[in-house]
Structures are given as C-alpha cells and as structure tokens.
C-alpha cells in the first residue's frame, strides 16, 4: 500500500514536471522528450552506481543538498522577479513564454529528469539497492520512461492561455520535486527547515533581549512571558518554516500582481483601452495559475512531511531504579526483553520529582550504546527507531544508528556505561546529572526546553 502511494506521488510529480517542460518549451517538444528520457535514464543509472559506492545516508544527504540548492535558487529567482524594473510588462505573446532554444530545452529537461529519477529512486526505497529493492527500482524506471510520452499528448489539451515563464517552470519543477521528496524521511526538507527556523527565532529573540537590554524572565508578568514563550514553541518553528517554504511562489505571485498595468493613456477610444487592459488582466490571471499551484504543491509537501507514513519503533520506557551502590543494572535478557535485538529499549529512572529517560541499543557493529532519550538541542520529545536510523521526534532529524552513542548535534546525549555478557550497568548520578544539565538546564532561558 505504502509503495503504491509513493508510486502514485512519483507519477503525479514526474507527470507534472513533464507537462510543465513541454508547455514551457512549446516549440521544441522532440528535444524536450529526448532530454527528459535521457535525463531520467541517466539519473537512474547514476543513483544505482552511487548507491553501490556510498552509504545510503550520504547519498540521501547529497540529494537533499541538491533539493535545497534548487529551493534556494527558486528563492533567488523569485526575489529577482519581484525587484525587476517596474517598466517590464507581462509577455502575452504566445503559448511558449520561455524563449525557444535547443540547448536550454535539452539542459533543463535533462536536469529535471536526472533529479527526478534520483529523488524518485530515493522515495521508492531504491537507494540502498539490493535484490529486495529491484521492484521499486523497476517501477521508478518504468514510470520515468513512460510518462514523458503521455505528457506530450496531455500538454496539447492544456488551455492555450496557460503560459509558463522561466520562473514559473522553475517553481513548478522545484515544488513537485519537494513534494516527491517529502514522501521519504531521508529526503524531506521541510522538517529540518522548520527546525532551523525555530532555532533562528530562538537565537534571534535571545540576542534581541540581550541587545535591547530587556530584563530576564523572572521580572516579567506570567501571562506576558507565556506569550513570549510561544515564540519558542514547536508551532512557531512550523509556521515560520511554512512561511519560508511558501515564500518563493508567493513572491512570484506578488511580483506578477505588482507589475504595472500597461500604459493605455495614448489610446483615445475608451472601449479599446478597456479591452487592452482586460486582455492584460486575463493574461495575468493565467500566469498566476502556476505560482498558486506551486503553493498548493508545497503545502502538500508540508502535509506529507508532518504526516509521515513511516511507523516508528517506540517502546514505552520501563521504570528502573538504582541499587544501594547507586548503579542501575539492566539485564541483557529479561523475560521478553532482549537488549541484543538491535532495537532501541527505553527506560525511565525516577529521582525525586525528576524522571530521566534513557535508551539502550545494540548497534549494527555489535556494540551497545546507552544515551538519554533526548538531545542537547531540542525539547525532550524522545526518539523513535526506523530502519537503520533513529529519529528525533522534535526536529525530525534522522540519526544513523551507527552514530548513536556519539555526542553532538541532535544525537541522543551519550551516557557512560559498562557492559558484560549478562548486564549493562549505568551510574545513577551520571544519568541524573546528564539529564539535569543537558535537558533541563535550558528550562529557564528563553527558548529553553520545557
């Protein structure tokens, strides 16, 4: 079922990209067709080759980087579009708004095909290619090579007035690629973006308080501080991320709406003036279609990002306590629990009113890792386990299982322990100190964990 949904997303996205390419380069359909086919096939081959050569996480990070560059490029183009000289007017001359030319068409369509093949491969799970991944790979290739032919026919049925400028084409392609990538945890850009935005807002407000010499929170009214505290919450990261996410297409919309109406003052017949203005406004409405569609597509990507289809392994923390010597002892095998099974096991140690949650996992290299169920950056919402990774529920960062137990970034805070064949031993003081110092230390500062 999940594979079918992902394949459907690939069909929609790649189909939309092909339609956009054929419409934008209306005079060079054959060139675009060759370019898309070659690009997609090349992309598929490249992904297979890279998947064999580099770890899946590195490949996913590379693809995510490519998508991020595309998104930044779209942002840059949108800002340029907004600041274009005021005299520039809409092109309402014909169906191909992108200037015709062979090489731009070939390069654009090949690049779009290449990236779509790579992202599509990642989404359908073909990145770590192996015998059990042949089916997704084959589906990707089949979809990729069939759709351009269907898009040629479909494009002719689109309204003639629907023009695609270079900016609109870029917005459509980037938007659909981001929608496609949002189906995969490793390729999704929105979650890390909202995390970064939240961190930026937190740091900005902290710096603002410091710069403007504003008193610390104990002097604030509680209700005022509650409102300020809202600026550090998850939802601000989400809404801030959403604003940034939708900004490029919205800037395109704004740029089109801000374009001055053409001067018709020299025309002496009122009817002619009104007719010319009406045709301009009609053309502008059609040009707004793709930027607004991109807004919808990106909103869809946000929905996919915030409602992932993946189910995480997230066991309920088992209450534990320390012995008289201040050590928490965890038997490797205890009833149904087996710490060697490669899955994360969560525990909760109560110390007075505080509870320190931690996890134990046997890593793929056969070594144990013990870490807090929290990192040093995010609010302590804990971790879930997906294939080969753990995910921070708060910021949706994926952490390779191999690196659990190492400090830094959004990794779970590592805890020192000793392990024997029968048990794992952790010092109560170490656990409690780590929890208090890294998880609760920020509780009283703006944006601190709560």
């Amino acid at each position: 079922m999940a594979l079918a949904v992902k394949a459907m997303t690939l069909v929609l996205c790649w189909g939309g990209i092909c339609l956009g390419l054929f419409r934008a380069f209306g005079g060079a359909r054959r060139t675009v067709l060759s370019g898309t086919l070659a690009g997609f096939a090349g992309g598929a081959v490249l992904v297979v080759a890279l998947a064999a050569a580099v770890p899946a996480t590195a490949l996913a990070a590379t693809l995510r980087g490519v998508l991020a560059v595309g998104f930044l490029l779209l942002g840059g183009v949108a800002v340029t579009h907004l600041y274009r000289p005021a005299g520039a007017t809409l092109d309402i001359s014909g169906p191909a708004a992108v200037p015709p030319g062979r090489w731009p068409a070939v390069l654009t369509s090949a690049a779009a095909g290449l990236v779509t093949a790579a992202v599509g491969g990642g989404v359908l799970g073909a990145l770590p290619l192996g015998p059990d991944r042949l089916l997704p790979g084959a589906i990707t290739l089949a979809i990729g090579l069939t759709l351009p032919f269907l898009a040629v026919a479909g494009e002719r049925r689109l309204p003639v007035a629907l023009l695609l400028t270079g900016e609109a084409l870029l917005a459509l392609v980037v938007g659909l690629l981001l929608l496609l990538s949002s189906s995969s945890l490793g390729l999704d850009l929105f979650a890390p973006l909202s995390m970064k935005v939240m961190k930026l807002i937190h740091d900005f407000i902290h710096q603002f308080f410091e710069s403007m010499l504003i008193p610390d929170h104990p002097f604030f009214r509680n209700d005022v501080w509650t409102y300020i505290g809202y600026l550090f919450s998850n939802s601000v990261g989400f809404w801030g991320g959403l604003a940034l996410w939708l900004l490029p297409p919205l800037l395109l919309v704004l740029g089109l709406l801000r374009k001055p109406l053409p001067s018709v003052a020299h025309i002496r017949q009122g009817a002619q003036r009104r007719k010319l203005l009406a045709s301009f406004l009609r053309a502008r409405r059609w040009q707004l279609v793709v930027p607004w569609l991109t807004v919808l597509v990106l909103a869809g990507a946000v929905y996919r990002s915030t409602h992932p289809a993946t189910e995480y392994w997230d066991p309920k923390p088992v209450p534990v306590s320390a012995g008289a010597d201040g050590t928490v002892v965890l038997p490797v095998k205890d009833g149904e629990r087996d710490l060697d099974d490669g899955r994360i096991h969560k525990f909760a140690l109560r110390d007075g009113e505080q509870e320190a949650r931690f996890l134990v996992v046997m890593k793929p290299d056969g070594r144990y890792a013990v870490a807090l169920d929290a990192c040093a950056i995010c609010q302590p919402e804990g971790y879930g386990q997906a294939e080969g990774t753990v995910i921070c529920y708060y910021c949706k960062t994926l952490i390779p299982l191999e690196t659990v137990g190492q400090p830094g970034g959004c990794n779970p805070v590592p805890i020192r322990f000793t392990a024997s064949e029968r048990e794992i031993r952790v010092a109560r003081q170490e656990l409690v100190n780590a929890w208090v110092s890294t998880v609760q230390a920020g509780a009283r500062v703006p944006g601190g964990k709560r």
Partner: protein, 412 residues
C-alpha cells in the same frame, strides 16, 4: 575610474542593494548553520571579524541614507511641480507621462476634475489635481527608521563592550561603573505592571560637584552610569558563610556571591583550601512570598566533600546547620544584583528605529487604505498637452479619471 565611480554610485543608491546584501547574509547564515548549532552567534562573530562582511553590513545604512536623500529630493521636486513652481524635467516623478496633440481646454478640465473630487490648482498653462493624503512623510520616517536600525546594528556589533560585575548592598560600585557606593537594593511587586510584575530599585550614592547625590537604577529602560548602561541580569545573595568540619582546624568564614534567584535555583560555594563545597538554594513553600520581596531568607544547604554528600538541611539567615560534626552558619546576607555594564552606541539608534516604525507603519497603512494620494498634472504647450499621473492607491479608478481627463483635454 569614472566608470567605477558611476557603478559605485549606482550600488550605493540602488533599491536592490539592501535586499541583495540581506540575501547574502542569509546565504552565509545557511552555510554556517551546516557546521554549527549556534549559527546566529557565529554569524555575528564572523561579521565582526571579517572585513568584507563588515563592509557589506556598512553598505546597508549607506544605501538607506542615499535612498532617503533621493526620496526626499523626489518628493520636494514633485511637490514643486504640482504647486506650479518652475522646475526642471519631470522625469521619474510620476508613474505615467502622456503627450497628446490638442489645445488643452484647461477651463473645462478644471471643472471636470473638481467634480471628480480632486483639489484643483490652475495656472496659466497648467492644471494640477490632487486627491487624498500623501503617505510620503511617513514613508520617509519609515526609511529613516530603517537607516537607524541598520546603523544601530552595525554600531552595536562593532562597539559593544560588556563587563559583568556584582553590585552589592553597602559596597562600593565596581570599578567599571566609576566611583560610588551602593546604598540599597529593593525588589518590589508591581501587580499593575503592563509587562513587568516586579520593580527593582538600585540606589547608588555617586560623587558630584555638590558633594554627592543619590541615583536610582531600575529594570527598564536601563540607566546610564559612567557612560555604560546599567543592565541588571540576575538577583543574588552575598551570605557570610562560616564553616567548620571535623577534619579542619578552626572555622573558615567568608562572603560568597551566589546567584539564587528565582527561588529553587542552585549555586555553590567552594570552601577554599578544602575539599568541601556547599550547594545553596532559597527554600520556599507553596504560598510563600518571594524571599526577595519579603527580605526573609531561608537557605537550603547541601554540603559535599568532593562528590560525596555529607550533610543537608535548612539554614535560616542568622542561624546555623549542624550535622555529623559539620557546622555551617550564615550570620548575615546582603542582596546583590549581577549587572552587565554595557557600552554600546547602537542601542539608542535601535530604540529610535523601533519608535519610528511604531509611528510610521500604522499611519502610512491607514492613509494608504483610507485616502491614498492621487495626483495629476496637465501642461498645455501650443498644440500639445502633456499629462502626468501618479497614485499611491486605488490606481485603477484614478487611471480611469486620468484617461477621461486626457480625452477631455485632447479630444479625438
């Protein structure tokens, strides 16, 4: 060289300069965020240290100042043109300029424009028609606010110097604050406060020509002392701690600076030359008044030898805690305020910018929504009529009036 100057002048006055520079800073921020979690702090540090980034940042207030002057000149020229004063070419003053063959018919035009709701001013060969309120003053104030903001940020980044010192009751001021004696520290509840629910008053006796005077410093806005802002950060106590342990000869006694506010916050005092450390916090029960408000202090004390806890208990000021041969006494405490003394020439500019934005933005928006400025100017010259038009809002309706006015002054 001349060409370079022209390019530089275009960059300095260009309306895209500031957005492009801000975009570059955004890109640098994104780049930095890949490598560190403290991206904003790192970017601020980089901007201070890398001359290119500093020059780019300095370009923003320069650009805004140039644009402010340009906008002001434009508004003055337009005002003169509409008032009928002799002026040079009108290029760039209006949104639209149309030249039509016709004799003008200014008298009919005057009546018609007045009927359309415009205030009309007629000269010998010209008519100016104006409607609505100009948002230009508020726009210029907003631009000035932007200038102040970025100049403030630049100055703040480059000149800010912070010294953190404890200001203790009954003690002389720290050296950075100049000569003076702290007379008292008082925290009071402010239940009716709009934003803050407490007020802090630090009274300081400072020497002056007449012998000495008292000055008070509160929470906000911060006062200036010896050229530095007095920025109270944390409240604390300076208890006199007397300590005796079974393995120590005699009793150790000293004042310690402890940041214990709000109640529950812990701070520790290490007894010098011994393995002992005492962790203090302010003891409160639910419903108790804030000890800093009541002035009644009871401390929780935990005594450690190395990492090993050896004694624990409540310790009222004026009393002692005795356990297992250990004795901790606190005969007296003094209140203190951990204070940042900040020299920063940008703060006042940023405050000014905030005030300008607060005044300019709502008023400009209100004007643009309710009565946007719309202007027309017609000049008749022989058998030619030149029409100029500009609107800050309700553009389409204004253009319709302009077109009909042109039809009237130069009929087909």
């Amino acid at each position: 060289m001349k060409r370079l100057l022209v390019v530089l002048s275009r960059v300095v006055t260009g309306r895209r300069t500031t957005p492009v520079i801000l975009g570059l800073f955004l890109l640098v921020y994104i780049g930095v965020a890949f490598f560190t979690e403290e991206a904003l702090v790192t970017l601020m540090m980089l901007t201070r240290r890398v001359p290119l980034l500093l020059a780019l940042l300095a370009m923003i207030p320069l650009n805004l100042a140039a644009r402010l002057v340009g906008d002001l000149r434009l508004e003055l020229r337009r005002g003169r043109a509409l008032a009928g004063h002799p002026s040079g070419p009108l290029d760039g003053l209006f949104d639209e300029e149309v030249r039509l063959a016709g004799e003008g018919r200014l008298a009919e035009l005057e009546a018609w424009l007045a009927g359309a709701g415009y205030r009309v001013k007629r000269g010998e060969e010209r008519i100016a028609a104006v409607r609505g309120i100009s948002a230009a003053p508020w726009r210029l104030l907003f631009r000035f606010g932007q200038f102040c903001l970025f100049l403030g940020i630049l100055l703040s980044l480059t000149t800010r110097a912070v010294v953190r010192e404890a200001v203790i009751e009954g003690e002389p001021l720290p050296a950075v604050a100049g000569a003076g004696q702290v007379q008292g520290i008082r925290l009071a509840a402010e239940p009716g406060g709009l934003i803050l629910n407490k007020s802090l008053t630090v009274t300081v006796a400072v020497p002056s020509a007449g012998g000495g005077r008292l000055r008070s410093f509160g929470l906000y806005p911060p006062g200036l002392l010896n050229g530095a802002f007095f920025y109270p950060r944390y409240l604390g106590l300076a208890p006199l701690v007397q300590f005796h342990a079974p393995d120590l000869a005699g009793e150790a006694g000293s004042y310690y600076l402890l940041m214990l506010y709000p109640p529950g916050r812990e701070d520790s005092a290490t007894i010098p030359g011994t393995p002992y450390r005492i962790v203090f916090s302010l003891a409160t029960s639910p419903g108790d008044e804030d000890p800093f408000l009541s002035g009644k202090y009871v401390l929780n004390a935990k005594l450690f030898r190395g990492e090993e806890p050896v004694a624990e208990g409540r310790l009222p000021v004026g009393g002692a805690l005795e356990r297992n041969g250990f004795r901790v006494a606190v005969p007296e405490v003094r209140q203190l305020v951990q204070t940042d003394f900040i020299r920063d020439s940008g703060v006042l500019l940023i405050w000014l910018a905030a005030a300008l934005f607060a005044a300019a933005v709502p008023l400009a928006l209100l004007i643009l929504l309710l009565a946007p400025r719309r202007e027309m100017l017609f000049r008749a010259s022989g058998q030619e009529v030149i029409g100029y038009s500009r609107a800050e809002g309700r553009v389409r309706r204004h253009n319709g009036v302009f077109h009909e006015a042109l039809d009237l002054s130069a009929p087909h």
